[in-house]
């Protein structure tokens, strides 16, 4: 049974992430009065990309070639280290939230380097914007988890999830503040509105897309898959850190299946929330974004002062 649970934990994020991306796009399309693509379309895109050849720039070095593998690896590792459906794996040594934050920073570092590597104007300023935003989100990211870890007296994500699920009602004010801060950080890290438009064709408005304009074939598939994984990881963190009911500690088949079902439902609700948010606001001008990120930081700091 252990092996089955471990396999599910490892494989859940890469398998499910394109589905939630498809759901997000479908809901956005419905808001735009269109039918929109099938929710399984991202799977088909990935499948097609793995079957295509690649064209690589002659200026690219080994960093360009290795970066997609490294970024995808990091998302798989992160997917396996966060609480998804079970708190039974809590002695996982990679679940320290600082390790999570800095692994995300490692993947952003290499993505930004890959963007500069090809020597085109798009990649360069895409990397510049991405690193600017990444530098500013670290504060809010660390602080939002810090607030929760003071509540749980541990920095292990699994312990935080168990602790939040048994909290009395009056301590929810700081958690609401932290949740708002976390949502802002999630939107920034996963390149959604108001920070970045994932469907834009205008290079001047791209942040994440600009760095991957040069990738093709299987490397593009890996990077797109990694981006979908990152989205699901952040959604799972949002769902399981702030609404941890449904995580099971038992290992029998029925609780695992029901925990998986509750997980899917929670993430679907969050996805709908992000889709509604994306359909109602516009992308902000780049120099309005740092205000948002500092707000996220300050909200979490206030929450810490309230908790302690």
């Amino acid at each position: 049974m252990t092996i089955i649970i471990w396999t599910i934990q490892l494989a859940l994020v890469p398998i499910l992430s394109p589905l939630f991306l498809g759901v997000l796009r479908k809901i956005k399309a419905r808001f735009q009065n269109r039918v929109g693509a099938n929710i399984f379309q991202p799977y088909r895109n990935l499948w097609k990309l793995f079957h295509k050849d690649e064209v690589m720039s002659e200026d690219a070095s080994w960093i360009f070639r290795i970066a997609p593998y490294l970024i995808f690896t990091i998302t798989i590792i992160l997917g396996a280290s966060i609480p998804l459906f079970s708190t039974w794996l809590s002695n996982n040594l990679l679940s320290d939230f600082l390790a999570v934050v800095y692994l995300v920073a490692l993947s952003t570092f290499f993505l930004a380097l890959a963007g500069i590597d090809v020597g085109s104007a798009f990649g360069g300023f895409g990397s510049s914007r991405e690193m600017t935003l990444a530098a500013l989100t670290e504060g809010g990211f660390i602080f939002s988890f810090l607030a929760l870890s003071f509540l749980a007296h541990s920095t292990n994500l699994f312990f935080i999830a168990s602790a939040v699920s048994v909290l009395p009602l009056f301590s929810f004010t700081p958690i609401v503040l932290v949740f708002i801060s976390f949502v802002i950080i999630m939107l920034c890290e996963t390149a959604h509105f108001p920070f970045d438009n994932p469907a834009t064709h205008l290079e001047l408005t791209m942040v994440h897309e600009a760095m991957i304009l040069e990738y093709s074939g299987k490397r593009l598939a890996l990077i797109e898959w990694a981006a979908a994984n990152k989205f699901l990881i952040f959604l799972a963190l949002g769902a399981n850190m702030f609404f941890p009911w449904g995580l099971t500690a038992q290992t029998d088949a029925w609780s695992v299946v029901s925990a998986l079902g509750i997980f899917v439902v929670k993430v679907l609700i969050l996805t709908t929330f992000v889709a509604i948010l994306e359909s109602s606001i516009a992308k902000f001008r780049f120099f309005r974004l740092y205000d948002l990120l500092f707000t996220a930081f300050i909200l979490s700091a206030m929450a810490i002062l309230l908790i302690l």
């Binding site: 399309a29 735009q32 009065n33 269109r34 039918v35 929109g36 693509a37 099938n38 379309q41 088909r44 895109n45 499948w47 097609k48 079957h51 295509k52 050849d53 690649e54 064209v55 834009t200 064709h201 290079e203 897309e209 304009l213 040069e214 990738y215 093709s216 074939g217 593009l220």
Partner: protein, 167 residues
């Protein structure tokens, strides 16, 4: 190869054409077709029609077709415009930047043989003089429904060619 402008699929509804298109794309392209549109100096009329394909009325995304920003991400290049002299090199670079397997479609009469600009000193009279063109969609400009019809016919031809090769 050029299709006659007036053939039967013009009578059908978009949904029916689209359904057939989706099935072909599923079989031939693993369910997703990425199109990159290249404007080599056109009057923008074809671009308007191609853009109209993504609006809520035609909504080509539901059939698995999407428009992408970079030729590196594309399977099909739709070229419009009679290829002005200044755009010649850009067109060649775009063609080389697209990974295999790729399909090149010339959209609009300008792209097929120069159209209303034919014979001018500033244009090179059609895309097939610069890069190898696989299919052509006639019209000045072709309406979105016509483009969809022709796309369907293109996929039928590709399927038959594949079957022929496999035999």
């Amino acid at each position: 190869m050029v299709m006659p402008v007036n053939f039967l699929c013009n009578e059908e509804k978009i949904e029916i054409i689209g359904g057939k298109l989706q099935k072909k794309i599923q079989r031939l392209f693993n369910g997703s077709l990425a199109i990159r549109e290249v404007d080599t100096g056109s009057t923008n009329s074809c671009e308007h029609e191609l853009t109209a394909l993504s609006n809520p009325y035609y909504d080509v995304e539901r059939f698995g077709i999407s428009f992408v920003a970079s030729p590196r991400h594309a399977d099909m290049l739709m070229v419009t415009g009679p290829v002005t002299r200044n755009m010649r090199e850009a067109l060649i670079k775009t063609y080389e930047a697209t990974p295999d397997p790729k399909i090149v479609v010339a959209v609009g009469n300008d792209a097929i043989n120069g159209g209303i600009f034919r014979g001018s000193y500033a244009v090179l009279d059609g895309v097939d003089k610069i890069i190898p063109v696989d299919f052509q969609i006639p019209g000045d400009p072709p309406s979105p429904k016509t483009i969809l019809c022709h796309l369907l016919k293109i996929l039928v031809v590709i399927e038959e060619k594949d079957h022929g090769e496999n035999k």
